[in-house]
């Protein structure tokens, strides 16, 4: 299961997909909207995706993992749209016969997502103002 969605996501959404007969471990990563970023209090986030490509890239990351390690199943969900502090933005689940490979592959998945998947994050701050993360400097006012 590799999906970009505007709906709320949780670990429960992917459990059945990865917890299949024969696995000995499932490792989950739950990426959550933080209340602060580089010294600023975050009010909420907006995620934007190139959705068709993002889903293809998530699937490619899953296929890459299957080639690298003896894992059983990989599932990745990424939420887009308006997200409040405390809500999940990304869920990754990897199952494998032995825990070592599930831990390694889950870590690999989140690092690859942050590099390859066309999803952008805009932070809105409690003090007012906003910026596109990794594109605009957080210390300067947003150029409009």
């Amino acid at each position: 299961m590799f999906r970009v969605t505007r709906d709320k996501i949780s670990v429960a959404d992917v459990e059945a997909c990865v917890k299949v007969y024969g696995v000995g471990a499932v490792v989950y990563f739950d990426g959550i909207v933080r209340d602060h970023s580089e010294g600023k209090r975050v009010k909420f986030l907006e995620y934007e995706a190139y959705e068709s490509m993002a889903e293809e890239k998530l699937r490619e990351i899953g296929e890459d993992i299957q080639r690298r390690w003896p894992v059983s199943k990989v599932a990745i969900l990424h939420r887009v749209g308006h997200l409040e502090v405390g809500e999940s933005s990304v869920i990754i689940a990897v199952s494998s016969p032995h825990r070592e490979h599930a831990f390694t592959a889950c870590r690999f998945a989140i690092e690859q997502i942050k590099i390859l998947v066309p999803i952008w994050k805009k932070e809105f701050w409690e003090e007012g103002g906003d910026h596109w993360v990794n594109i605009e400097e957080s210390t300067s006012p947003t150029a409009k």
Partner: protein, 82 residues
């Protein structure tokens, strides 16, 4: 040939539109497309050196040659984070 470019995040916001059409010669490379876009839209020109281009949902290098009917997207730096 006419090429439709998909725009996202800061590019979409600055131009107030999520796509733009460019008339390009057959045989145009990605680097030429970026130069044409910068000339047409100076407001986003400083951002383009940091962008990647995806054609048909795959990243391509600057010397990649465009084909009529390609789905072309300008990809600003993705969200990253620690």
């Amino acid at each position: 040939m006419q090429v439709r470019l998909k725009l996202f995040s800061i590019l979409r916001q600055k131009l107030g539109q999520d796509e733009i059409f460019l008339d390009l010669q057959p045989g145009t490379r990605v680097e030429d497309l970026l130069a044409a876009l910068a000339a047409r839209q100076p407001d986003i020109a400083p951002l383009l050196p940091n962008c990647l281009i995806a054609i048909n949902r795959q990243y391509v290098p600057r010397n990649h040659v465009l084909t009529a009917g390609d789905e072309v997207a300008v990809i600003p730096p993705v969200s990253g984070g620690k």
